[in-house]
Symmetry: C2
Subunit: 354 residues, 2 copies
């Protein structure tokens, strides 16, 4: 009988997650249980062998016991995560053994869930199943709807993308360029900035860890580019506060994430919020799931851009086992902290192997 490794929530973090497992204050713990078999399947259920699981900044919010767009993950529950995998048993008419699927599989090696929560995926020419966690999955959908529907960018706009070397930001940068915008990308290392300019076509890239970042950013946004039309905002905090001083009249901020403040029990807050009045600016939060009925449209468009070589994707694949671990899944908590520390370039995933 095969084994299912699960990473479950043990204790809610108050600041950063405690990624070491097996300690008295660990956020997560690993469980090893017998995997479901065909005999366990109810009507409509499917068993999926998970191949890759996703690591996303939004996960920090799912750990918080607060009202939000999804219920919090409960203590003892498998950590919620998007993932891709292969059907190994199916009691659902639309899915057969061998089908490749994407869905909310959780941090586990074998998932049993109802087939209606899974999407069968055909791999596009030149692509891989991983694309459905990147440009053709939630990351891509988030960038697409944020850029086009919330920020409403148009050719010639000056667009700022923060967290620009991340999974969503790196796609947002490219979508804005495809539309003929000027893009100022903000990221956390000189290497990321080089990648953003040389590979993704950003007009400018600024390292927010540089000691002159604040002055450089204002100088560039205000003086060199004559203020900002639109923002794809992933980081919040101080950088968003600076951005508020750089808005053109009627600027739109697509507020996707605030990774800089997720682990902060006492965010310092946006002090420059009054400029939203003077500039008639709009700070608008959005959640990609609200666009579910239009995912197919964006996926088709993005697949075409991938096929045409107009859209680059980059994955940061974690595939190492920690000492004494039985599965790479046990690296997930550490990898999530690495994400908050900005150690990734592009989409961060864990390749599931026991």
């Amino acid at each position: 009988m095969s084994q299912n490794t699960q990473i479950v929530l043990r204790e809610r973090p108050t600041a950063s997650i405690v990624d070491a497992m097996g300690q008295s204050d660990s956020t997560f713990e690993a469980k090893h249980i017998a995997a479901a078999t065909a005999a366990d399947l109810k009507e409509g259920e499917v068993i999926v062998k998970v191949e890759y699981v996703s690591l996303d900044p939004a996960m920090r919010g799912w750990l918080r016991d607060a009202r939000s767009y999804l219920p919090p993950v409960q203590i003892g529950e498998v950590m919620r995560a998007f993932g891709v995998g292969t059907v190994v048993e199916s009691n659902f008419p639309g899915l057969a053994k061998g089908d490749q699927v994407a869905g909310t599989l959780g941090w586990q090696s074998i998932a049993k869930l109802h087939g209606r929560f899974l999407e069968k995926k055909q791999i596009y020419p030149g692509g891989s199943i991983l694309d459905f966690l990147g440009p053709l999955g939630m990351s891509g959908q988030t960038a697409y709807w944020g850029i086009f529907d919330v920020a409403k960018i148009k050719a010639g706009d000056v667009v700022v993308v923060t967290g620009a070397a991340g999974s969503v930001g790196s796609i947002a940068v490219q979508l804005a360029k495809l539309q003929g915008c000027k893009v100022i990308a903000i990221a956390g290392s000189d290497d990321k900035c080089t990648w953003l300019k040389q590979q993704l076509g950003a007009d400018e890239a600024l390292n927010y860890k540089s000691p002159t970042f604040k002055a450089d950013y204002r100088q560039m946004a205000q003086k060199k580019y004559g203020y900002i039309d639109a923002v794809f905002e992933n980081v919040g905090g101080e950088i968003l506060d600076l951005t508020l001083l750089c808005l053109k009249p009627h600027a739109r901020i697509a507020f996707c994430g605030a990774i800089s403040d997720y682990n902060n029990p006492k965010p310092q807050g946006l002090k420059n919020y009054q400029t939203l009045i003077a500039m008639r600016g709009k700070l608008e939060g959005f959640i990609v799931m609200d666009y579910a009925d239009r995912y197919a449209h964006a996926e088709k468009q993005m697949a075409q851009w991938l096929a045409d070589g107009k859209l680059a994707r980059k994955f940061h694949v974690v595939d190492h086992k920690l000492p004494n671990a039985t599965s790479t899944l046990e690296s997930c908590p550490q990898a999530l902290n690495d994400l908050f520390a900005g150690k990734n370039v592009g989409k961060m995933v864990v390749k599931v192997q026991s």
Copy 2:
């Protein structure tokens, strides 16, 4: 030769304005100059005897030497202010002696300006020229477009109005009620709250100076009303920060003003801004002047509501002269501070008399 009393900007304030005049740090000073006469008029110019000048929270922003929707008032310039008055001399084809007009007349007793900057006003049955500084002027226009165009309220919405006993807030409350909304009004005294409930029809009114305000507000907005659909925001600061915790999904905040923070050189900032993501909320600043091409529509609608007795207006008229003053205009700086202290109920104006 008649005299023109002008209140001019002497020194920019760093926190609250210094309203006492004739001191070394006074924000304003009074000047008494010869009034313009027919002989001074160029082609198209008009001389207006000012009857009432307006006092608005936005004035604090006009004193700040910063990029905004209007250039700052310059040192030595007459303080910018809306006003109403009577034409005494005209070299402009559309205006004749005796016409009643509204415009940016400034804090002065006699204004000389080009006729194209004035609007000729007919007093509606049952009304007075003062209405054009209240429901039929900028206050009314601001409430109207904020409620209908920015907050996009609809029948059944739970709407919060802050600064609800002020000139704009008191109209916003009534417009939301006219549309069939539930209205929670927030103001700064029990008397104001009584007025809001008994005279303006607010469903609830909360005094933010009450020691239990924070808990009362959250209890009411979250529990009793099941969270908020829309907000007409006049005060910013701590109350807006609390409001952010009370939003329904897809809530709209029409961000009109932040009077609580205008005098604050170091605003504490919005700490709960991340809920805009989880709730897909929108914080959208607006400036009434952007609606200039639609003012006539709103004025006509509001005049009808006034005529039908569906809209109440209240003016707080300052008509006293300070000791040794030659004109009530010298009361303007003090009255502006009274506005920030919330001493008014309804629209605050100074009746101009020497």
